[in-house]
């Protein structure tokens, strides 16, 4: 199991979600992906994305305007 980190801070929509797609596509089942985003629309996107792909949203929180999301690939 690998752990991957995406720094998508400062990227505007659709940057973060496009980055996440790329990394998730290359990842194996069980891999952990952490992404950090400053775009405020991301929370809604990530929830919907996980629901659709079946990947698990392990945690999501926002500190000082930065959204940290941890995803486990299904």
């Amino acid at each position: 199991m690998a752990e991957k980190f995406i720094n998508a801070r400062g990227l505007q929509c659709p940057g973060p979600i496009v980055e996440l797609f790329k990394v998730a596509k290359a990842a194996d089942s069980g891999d952990i992906i952490t992404i950090e985003v400053t775009d405020c629309g991301f929370s809604k996107d990530i929830n919907a994305w996980c629901k659709k792909t079946g990947n698990e949203l392990v945690s999501i929180n926002e500190i000082d305007g930065i959204i940290h999301a941890v995803i486990k690939k299904s």
Binding site: Q12, C13, P14, I17, F21, C40, G41, D64, G65, I66
Partner: protein, 555 residues
């Protein structure tokens, strides 16, 4: 010289405000306030937050006590004293002391009616069961909070999706209560336009409130005198408590009995000086009618902000009858916080304006509350409603997780000063990244509206698109990236990413109406619009607010 006597009926916001202002204008005044309630000068709008525990202490709800009024202002407040009759000829009020049943009479030189409004309790089956509440008085809030604190409330049903109903629903959720909200109208927040209200509704649902709209409560069932079930056209819902927030009616019985005229709204008719149809009798606060500043027609806004203003004006005028102050009208500006979302409104909604037969244009523009690169910036959506010919601003609605009170107050201020759309675009507003966008959301919305009015861009609202979709009359082109469309898109839309548009525009029929989608700010859709125009497409529209503000079904 004998002291001038002022009698005030009602001791919440407007009554105490009128009394205090009058006393400041003439310290020799003899002021008596009568109220049938036990609590005075309380924060009625704060009651839902007491239930939720945001406001922790009972004392925080009561702004001031009779003792303070006596000590600091020499105003006599008689609690649990009900005025039963006004004799406007003899200039007397008849009062019953509720505890002792003693009958009293007091003469007045000036009378201020601040009798307030009462929650509507329709005659439904078993409505007298225990634990069916309205939320208007401090006592209501104490009772509900005590039940929740005692762990007796697992399930609650809130009837009515106006401000109070939604705030109660939120606060009960904060206490881990399972909440169902039933609204008769097709959406919550009935005064707002549909596409705005549905965004608030979706947010409430995301936060775990079960919302049922377009359905009617039929009655209640109980066990041992306590409510246990709500019966509705959508089926039965179990409930340990029920909170009715269907609306309020002005308390006008005293006025009617005294032949004081009512207005068309059913509230007490007053002129701009807060004078009723009877000499030396004023009416203020929720029992009094207002004038809508936009339409100049009677309206009724039972709100704390308006109550305080009308109370102050009447207080001034009872003393200064030779140089009276006036209130020309109000806009009905309101604001509400629902979990992480804020919604505000001023003036007319699109629905109000169309109903009044006005020729209007509307626009919906997403933006952020701070610079888009500044951490913690949040989305807000501004809807403007203007009169087509004059460009007069008729109303606005703003919703989002960001700051909405500032922009709505800017617009309310502009409207009060009779501003036109062009004036909004030129306001010199405070800017630095932590506070605003360089072109604030309000200025941006006004500019897009001007573009629309000047035919620089053609747009379609989500509501109109939804109608067209029913009849399959329209091509929807989503110009976002494939990944974004995967997350959510409008059913039946065709995804052509922005950078492929030139290459693939032949897939579109030039004769069929084409709609272009956006992501967040609509920038890409506007660019796509210009590109397709150059290629000879005539019938193109940009979806206002893009997918983020699209409140209908996505897949």
């Amino acid at each position: 010289m004998e002291k001038q006597r002022l009698v005030v009926i009602g001791a919440v916001a407007a009554g105490t405000k009128a009394a205090s202002k009058a006393m400041r204008e003439n310290p020799n005044l003899d002021v008596k306030i009568f109220t049938k309630e036990e609590h005075i000068s309380y924060a009625g709008c704060g009651l839902p937050y007491y239930i939720g525990g945001v406001i922790k202490e009972k004392n925080e709800l009561v702004v001031r006590t009779p003792e303070i009024f006596k000590r600091e202002q020499d105003i006599d407040i008689f609690i649990k004293h009900e005025v039963t009759k006004i004799d406007t000829n003899a200039k007397k009020v008849y009062v019953t002391n509720i505890d002792t049943q003693e009958q009293l009479e007091y003469g007045y030189d000036k009378l201020v009616m601040a009798t307030g409004a009462s929650p509507i309790k329709p005659p439904l089956e078993n409505i007298k069961l225990k634990n069916i509440f309205t939320l208007r008085s401090v006592a209501d809030a104490f009772e509900i909070r005590d039940l929740v604190d005692a762990g007796k409330v697992q399930k609650a049903v809130v009837v009515g999706g106006g401000f109070i109903g939604l705030e109660v629903a939120e606060n009960l959720r904060h206490r881990d209560v399972d909440v169902t909200l039933i609204e008769l109208a097709p959406h919550v927040l009935p005064p707002f336009d549909e596409e705005i209200a549905l965004l608030a509704q979706a947010h409430m649902q995301e936060k775990g409130v079960n919302i049922v709209t377009g359905e009617k409560v039929l009655g209640f069932e109980g066990k041992d005198e306590f409510v246990s079930k709500v019966k509705s056209t959508a089926g039965d819902f179990e409930a340990d408590i029920v909170v009715l927030s269907i609306g309020v009616r002005p308390n006008v019985k005293l006025a009617v009995d005294a032949d004081i005229e009512l207005g068309t709204t059913g509230a007490i008719k007053v002129d701009e000086y807060m004078q009723t149809s009877v000499k030396d009798v004023f009416a203020v606060g929720d029992c009094a009618e207002n004038i809508n500043l936009v339409t100049n027609q009677p309206a009724w806004y039972p709100m704390g902000s308006t109550s305080n203003k009308t109370g102050r004006i009447a207080g001034y005028n009872v003393v200064n009858s030779d140089k009276m102050d006036s209130l020309q009208g109000v806009l009905g500006t309101t604001i509400v916080k629902l979990f992480d979302m804020n919604a505000a409104k001023t003036g007319l909604s699109e629905r109000d304006a169309r109903r009044a037969g006005m020729n209007i244009e509307t626009i919906l523009v997403p933006a952020t509350d701070k610079a888009h690169y500044y951490p913690g910036n949040k989305a807000i959506i501004t809807k403007l409603i203007v009169e087509k010919a004059s460009h007069k601003i008729l109303g606005a609605e703003i919703i989002g997780s960001g700051v909405v009170d500032k922009p709505i107050d800017i617009i309310a201020t502009a409207m009060t000063l009779n501003a036109k759309l062009e004036d909004l675009t030129k306001l010199d507003l405070a800017y630095a990244p932590p506070f605003s966008m360089a072109m604030s959301s309000t200025i941006m919305a006004a500019n897009v509206m001007l573009n629309k009015l000047n035919n620089k861009i053609d747009t379609i609202t989500a509501t109109d698109l939804q109608d067209k979709l029913k009849y399959n009359q329209v091509n929807i082109v989503d110009v976002r990236e494939e990944e974004e469309c995967f997350i959510s898109s409008i059913p039946g839309s065709l995804n052509i990413p922005m950078n492929a548009l030139e290459r693939r525009s032949s897939e579109l029929h030039k004769d069929k109406e084409t709609v272009i989608l956006v992501c967040k700010v609509g920038k890409r859709a506007f660019l796509a619009y210009l590109k397709l125009k150059q290629q000879g497409f005539e019938n193109i529209k940009v979806l206002e607010g893009g997918i983020n503000a699209y409140p209908y079904r996505v897949e």
